[in-house]
C-alpha cells in the first residue's frame, strides 16, 4: 500500500499531535512552520491542562468537565465534540506523562492537579508554570524521532500562502514561501491540516506570539473556507502591560491562591503591603463568593474594567489592579509558579513574592476560527483544521487550561481522519492536477511582484498600529454597535490605504517586512469578519458583551456565526447555523450566585 502524504501547516501542539498520529499510522508528513517548531506559540501556555482524573477525591468526572466547559462557553459550542474531548482528556494526560513531561507530583508520586477558573475541582495538571512549553517539547521530541526515521519532513522557515484547490473545489496541496530565498513553491498532498493558531496580532499588542497573525486562516477564508464565530475573542484578565506585547500572568497564579484587589480609596499612593486588609477591596471575592478569584476569564476581565473605568479605582489612576501572591510562602510559589514569577521579575523588575503584581486585561485567545465539522474537516474537501485556528471547542468563552487539551485532542482527531481520507484518494487513483499548482503559484507570485513594485507612501507597520488600536478599542471587552461600525469603516479605509503601501525593503532575501506586509493584508480582511460578526450579534454571550444588549438571547442568537468571503464585493457575508445542544440543556450562566 502506498503511503499517504499529508501536509501539516503549523508546528504547535495541534500540528505536532496530528503529525505524530499520521506518522504512527504509516503516513508521511510534510510539516510547515514559520519558526522552528520548537519555538511555536504553544510554549507560551503556562498554567496547565485539564483532565478529570479525579485524583483528589472530589468526585470529579469527565461529565462534570464537559458541563463546566459548555457552561463556561455560554452554550455556544456544539456539544458532542466537547464531550468527546473531555472524555479523552485523562488518557491524553497519561500519554504526555509517558512521553516524559515533567508534571508536578504529589508526595505519593502521582500527578498533582490544581484549581483553575470556571470550575470548583482540582482538574488541572501542570509542569511548574510552563506547561505549554513542556507539552510542546514532549511532542517536538516525538516528531524529531519520526523525522530521524524519515517519516516527517520539516519545512521550517516556510510560510503558508494559500491552498491549492482544484476545479472540483478539492484541496490538493499548498502554496508556500521560503522565508530565506523568498521562493514561492507549491507542494502536493492528499490532504492538508491547518494548525496555525490564533489571531492576536489583529489587535496589535496581545499575549500572542509574533507569528499569530491569522494570515493562513484569512487566506483560506478568502479562498472559500467558512470562518466561524469570529467575534469571540478572549481578553485575559491578568496580563503585564508591555512596550512590545502584553505578557500573560497565568490564571494558575489565582489557582494557587492569588487574590485580585484595589485600594478602596482612589489614588491611594501607599505601598500596597502597608495598606491594611480593611482598606483593600477584593472585588472578585465580594461579587462572586462561590468562585471568587477563579471566575471565568470574561467575567474577571469585565469586573476589572468596571473597577477601573466605572469606579475609577485603577492603581494610581492607571488602568491596573493588583494580583497578590505575597501571602503564599516562597517555597510553594517557587515549586508551582516559578516560570511566571520570573517573567514578572525580568520584565517589570519587582519580585512578586514580595510585592503585589500590577496587571490588566489583554487580548489572549481566539475562540472563533475556521469552521470545521466533528471530523475536523473544513468545508473545502481535503482541508482539515485543528487547534486555536478552528472554532470547535470553546463556544463563547474558553475555560483556562482547556486550550492545550483542545489543541492536542483536535490534532489526534484530524490526523487519523486525514490519513483515512488520503487513503481513499489514493485508492480512487486521483492524479495530481499540475495546472492548478502552476496557476496558484503564479497567482501568488503576481501578488508578490505587485507588492514589490508598489510605490505609495504608506508604511505597513504604521497601518498595523492603526489596525490594532481600532480593534482593541472597539472590538474587545465592551462593544457598542456605533463604535464597531466605525471600526469597520476604518478597516475599509486601511484596506484602501494598503493599496499604496510602500516597502522600504525590496530585496529578495530573508525580507521580513515583505512577509509582514503580506500578513497585514490578510489581517485586515479577517478583522472585518470579527468586527461585522460583533456588530451583528445583538446580545451578550461569554466574551462578547454589549451594554445595549446585556442579556444572552437564546431565541435569536443561540447559533454559530459563519462568515464567507464574497470575492466580488471584497467583503464578508454571513450565515448562521444551529448549535448542537443535544446533551446539556442551555441554562442561565450565573457565577455570582452564592450556591
Amino acid at each position: 500500500m502506498s503511503h499517504p502524504k499529508i501536509i501539516v501547516v503549523g508546528g504547535g501542539l495541534a500540528g505536532l499531535s496530528a503529525t505524530i498520529k499520521i506518522a504512527e499510522m504509516g503516513g508521511h508528513v510534510d510539516l510547515f512552520s514559520i519558526v522552528p517548531v520548537k519555538r511555536s506559540h504553544s510554549v507560551c501556555a503556562q498554567g496547565g491542562i485539564n483532565a478529570a482524573k479525579n485524583l483528589k477525591g472530589e468526585g470529579d468526572s469527565t461529565w462534570q468537565h464537559f458541563d463546566d466547559s459548555i457552561y463556561g462557553g455560554d452554550f455556544l459550542a456544539n456539544q458532542p465534540p466537547v464531550k468527546a474531548m473531555c472524555e479523552a482528556a485523562p488518557s491524553i494526560i497519561d500519554l504526555l506523562d509517558r512521553m516524559g513531561v515533567p508534571f508536578n507530583r504529589t508526595p505519593e508520586g502521582l500527578l498533582d492537579f490544581r484549581r483553575f477558573g470556571g470550575t470548583l475541582y482540582n482538574r488541572t495538571a501542570f509542569a511548574g508554570a510552563t506547561t505549554g512549553q513542556q507539552l510542546l517539547y514532549a511532542l517536538d521530541e516525538q516528531v524529531r524521532r519520526y523525522e530521524a526515521e524519515g517519516k516527517v519532513t520539516k519545512y521550517e522557515a516556510w510560510e503558508f500562502l494559500s491552498a491549492v484547490i482544484d476545479d472540483q473545489r478539492v484541496c490538493q496541496g499548498i502554496c508556500a514561501i521560503d522565508l530565506r530565498s523568498m521562493a514561492v513553491k507549491t507542494f502536493p498532498a492528499e490532504a492538508v491540516i491547518i494548525a496555525t493558531g490564533g489571531v492576536g496580532a489583529i489587535f496589535g499588542k496581545s499575549t500572542n506570539s509574533v507569528v499569530c497573525t491569522g494570515s493562513a486562516q484569512s487566506a483560506l477564508y478568502q479562498q472559500g473556507a467558512y470562518y466561524a464565530n469570529g467575534e469571540f475573542i478572549q481578553v485575559h484578565p491578568t496580563c503585564i502591560p508591555g512596550e512590545d506585547k502584553l505578557r500573560l500572568m497565568s490564571e494558575s497564579a489565582r489557582g494557587e491562591g492569588g487574590r485580585v484587589w484595589v485600594p478602596k480609596q482612589a489614588g491611594d499612593k501607599r505601598d500596597p503591603k502597608s495598606i491594611p486588609e480593611g482598606e483593600r477591596w477584593y472585588f472578585l471575592e465580594e461579587w462572586y463568593p462561590k468562585y471568587g478569584n477563579l471566575v471565568p476569564r470574561d467575567i474577571a476581565t469585565r469586573a476589572i474594567h468596571k473597577v477601573v473605568y466605572e469606579y475609577h479605582l485603577g492603581l494610581d489612576g492607571q488602568p491596573m489592579v493588583y494580583l497578590d501572591l505575597t501571602h503564599i510562602d516562597r517555597a510553594t510559589l517557587d515549586r508551582k509558579l516559578e516560570g511566571i514569577l520570573e517573567i514578572y521579575e525580568k520584565f517589570v523588575g519587582d519580585d512578586p513574592r514580595d510585592t503585589p503584581m500590577k496587571i490588566f486585561p489583554g487580548v489572549h485567545y481566539t475562540m472563533g476560527g475556521l469552521w470545521v465539522d466533528f471530523e475536523q474537516r473544513t468545508n473545502i474537501e481535503g482541508l482539515y483544521a485543528a487547534g486555536e485556528c478552528e472554532y470547535q471547542y470553546h463556544g463563547a468563552n474558553r475555560l483556562g487550561a482547556n486550550s492545550l487539551l483542545s489543541c492536542i485532542y483536535a490534532g489526534f482527531v484530524s490526523g487519523p481522519n486525514a490519513v483515512n481520507y488520503a487513503r481513499n484518494v489514493i485508492k480512487s487513483g486521483r492524479t495530481p492536477a499540475h495546472h492548478v499548482h502552476d496557476s496558484e503559484r503564479k497567482r501568488q507570485e503576481e501578488i508578490n511582484a505587485h507588492l514589490l513594485k508598489n510605490d505609495g507612501a504608506e508604511n505597513p507597520f504604521l497601518l498595523w498600529r492603526e489596525l490594532g488600536e481600532t480593534m482593541t478599542k472597539n472590538c474587545t471587552v465592551i462593544r457598542y454597535n456605533k463604535n464597531i461600525r466605525e471600526t469597520d469603516a476604518k478597516l475599509v479605509e486601511l484596506l484602501e490605504r494598503y493599496r499604496h503601501v510602500n516597502l522600504s525593503d525590496r530585496s529578495m532575501w530573508a525580507n521580513t517586512s515583505f512577509v509582514f506586509t503580506r500578513q497585514l493584508y490578510n489581517m485586515l480582511q479577517l478583522a472585518r469578519v470579527i468586527a461585522q460578526g460583533a456588530a451583528m450579534r445583538d446580545e451578550s454571550r461569554g466574551a462578547h458583551y454589549k451594554p445595549d444588549f446585556p442579556e444572552r438571547d437564546d431565541a435569536n442568537w443561540l447559533k454559530t456565526t459563519k462568515a464567507y468571503f464574497a470575492a466580488d464585493a471584497d467583503e464578508p457575508r454571513f450565515e448562521f447555523e444551529q448549535v448542537d445542544t443535544s446533551l446539556i440543556k442551555p441554562r442561565p450562566r450565573r457565577y455570582d450566585a452564592a450556591t
Partner: protein, 250 residues
C-alpha cells in the same frame, strides 16, 4: 514631550550570507520598560538611521517576546542574550547588536541554529514510547525526580551556551552544553533510559563530551539558569563508565 531621552543603537548588518557586514546607528525615543525587541520594532516602523539615511527594517528572529521560545538570541553589547528580556534601562549605551558569531548568518541579526536540532536528533533526545494509543498511566515519579528533570527540560534551545563556549567551533565540532543537558534529562527518565547506551556512544569521540574545556561560560550565560556544568560532569561520568564497560566487553 515629557520624556525626550533617546537611546543609541549600533547594529551590525549584513544583507546576505555572502555579502560584507556593515554598521548602522539609530537614535530612538526612550520609553520606560523599553526592551531590545521593541526598539527593533520602532526601527521597522521608521527605518531611518541616526544620520537621517533611509534604510531597511532589521531582520532578526523573534516570536514569543517573553523568553520562552528561544528565538531572539543575539550578541547585545558583546554578550549572548535574549533580545526580548534585555531591558534598555539595564544596558550601557550605545547599545550594540550583533548576530551570533559561531552560526551561519542568514541576514542582519538572524542566524541559522539548526545544528542544535540536528545534535538533539543525534543523541536521540526523546522518550521511546510504544505508541500514542491508550496504554495507561506513566511511571510513578517522586517530586524529587520531577524537581531534577524540570530545570533541564526548561532549555529553550537559544544556543547562548554554544555561542559563549570557547570549545564550540569548527575545529572541535563540539556538540555543546545544551545537547549534553538533554542527554542527562532523558537518561534519568524511567523509560527514556532505555536509549542511554546509544546516547552515551553518540557523545564519545571527536566533538563529544571530551571537548568540554570547563570554561564554565555556558552556565553563566544561560538565560534559563540550567545546571549545565553539573550536567556535563554527570554525563561525563556516565560516558566514562560506558567506555569502561565497552572496553571489557570487546
Amino acid at each position: 514631550m515629557a520624556n525626550s531621552k533617546t537611546v543609541i543603537f549600533k547594529i551590525k548588518r549584513q544583507q546576505t550570507p555572502e555579502s560584507k557586514p556593515y554598521w548602522e546607528e539609530f537614535e530612538l525615543q526612550y520609553r520606560p520598560g523599553m526592551n531590545v525587541t521593541s526598539a527593533l520594532m520602532d526601527i521597522a516602523a521608521n527605518p531611518v538611521t541616526r544620520q537621517g539615511k533611509p534604510t531597511t527594517p532589521v531582520t532578526y528572529d523573534s516570536n514569543c517576546l517573553e523568553e520562552i521560545c528561544g528565538s531572539c538570541a543575539m550578541l547585545i553589547n558583546g554578550q549572548a542574550k535574549m533580545a526580548c528580556s534585555a531591558l534598555v534601562a539595564n544596558l550601557k549605551q550605545p547599545i550594540t547588536l550583533e548576530p551570533f558569531s559561531k552560526f551561519p548568518i542568514v541576514r542582519d541579526l538572524a542566524v541559522d541554529r539548526s545544528v542544535l536540532f540536528e545534535n538533539l536528533k543525534g543523541v536521540k533526545a526523546w522518550v521511546p514510547v510504544d505508541g500514542t494509543y491508550d496504554l495507561g498511566t506513566g511511571p510513578r515519579q517522586s517530586s524529587e525526580m520531577q524537581e531534577e528533570a524540570y530545570p533541564l527540560s526548561n532549555c529553550i534551545s537559544c544556543c547562548c551556551c554554544m555561542e559563549a563556549c570557547p570549545q564550540f567551533n569548527d575545529k572541535t565540532g563540539f556538540v555543546g552544553a545544551a545537547t549534553i543537558a538533554q542527554v542527562r534529562l532523558f537518561n534519568s527518565h524511567p523509560t527514556g533510559k532505555a536509549l542511554k547506551t546509544e546516547r552515551l556512544k553518540a557523545l564519545m569521540g571527536d566533538g563529544g563530551i571530551q571537548e568540554c574545556g570547563y570554561a564554565q561560560n555556558c552556565v553563566e550565560i544561560c538565560p534559563k539558569e540550567l545546571p549545565l556544568t553539573k550536567s556535563i560532569a554527570d554525563v561525563g561520568g556516565q560516558v566514562m563508565w560506558q567506555a569502561v564497560k565497552d572496553f571489557f566487553r570487546t
